[in-house]
Point group: C2
Chain length 212, copies 2
Amino acid sequence: MTRKIIRPKTNKKNLIIRRLSLYLRTLDHLKKKGVEVISSSHLEKIEGITQSLVRRDLAEFGTFGVRGVGYNVPLLREHISQILGFDQNWRVVLIGAGGFSSVLIHSESFQKRNLKIVQIFDKSSDYIGKSIEGIPIQDMAQLEQELDSRHVDLAIIAVPPPEVQHTINRLGHIGIRGALYFASRPVDVPENMVVLNMDITVELAVLTYQLR
Amino acid sequence: MTRKIIRPKTNKKNLIIRRLSLYLRTLDHLKKKGVEVISSSHLEKIEGITQSLVRRDLAEFGTFGVRGVGYNVPLLREHISQILGFDQNWRVVLIGAGGFSSVLIHSESFQKRNLKIVQIFDKSSDYIGKSIEGIPIQDMAQLEQELDSRHVDLAIIAVPPPEVQHTINRLGHIGIRGALYFASRPVDVPENMVVLNMDITVELAVLTYQLR
């Protein structure tokens, strides 16, 4: 299998996408409170991103907002949601049924973003055959037989670190296009697959650096 | 209580710190494999960060490496570890004893970075009085009496999203200087406290944007 290097998270486009995602959650919050119109300085106050950067980020994707008036909250929310792909449904497979999975399944933000967990796999007989929120936990040994890339868009990988690379390889072989994993180690990414990593020690370094 | 806006994650220094953290885990990996010397192009291959950026990042903190030879793995690892503050011990309190906490407690990277969970609190009677890995779970109602900021450096907040803000306020009042939370919502940060957020939907947006 040909491999490519995992994409750096510091990629400029990715940074804009992450900020859009922060604006989106602020807009969710404002919409819930019934706020109809906001200024870019209001977005700044909430997420700590400078007003000019907010304007520039939004300008990348078209003309929103009316000068001197501000942005229409429900419309801007809908636009950003569309840019990020959250206007469509995403079918997610969870690999690993441990503690982390049940946290995700009960996550309020998952539902808000049209992310739906459709299948769960685990290798442990403690889990196989049981179910979480009505979704049966299937045997990891049967992954190739039971997981069909036509019915699943994304994978979330919550397995022990030594099993992450092998799991990514299997998912790539099945044709799953995107995955997120949590282990604190680099991986090789199969071609035609986008793999992202969330690493708690990377975030904690930002804390320990500032507090040391 | 005076409040300040949460720091943007896109802060330039934070980006360098995050990349250093990625180099560190690559160096861990190389050290384990017995590799003694590497070039900056080798670091690039593993984490997908350009060679010139690796050089610039490291140059920010002093002179490492020998031209034409490369970096000494154990030495560079030690240096970066020191820059990030991982050469000292960090005493961590976990707020919330649910699924996520047991994932963290068993995390290999936690131990590797000298992060030690010393106390756990939860509000549920299902957990209070039990223990995880020998650490008793204390009653959240007793937080102010039982948590002493002289004995704890950092908090990891794994409570339901509606309880995050209140939890941060209480920790700030006790004098805890740093915290990481996972909920997908913005918070106000007490003065003299550094609060970071890890939000799975922000990461997933980077995936859905690329795959939509």
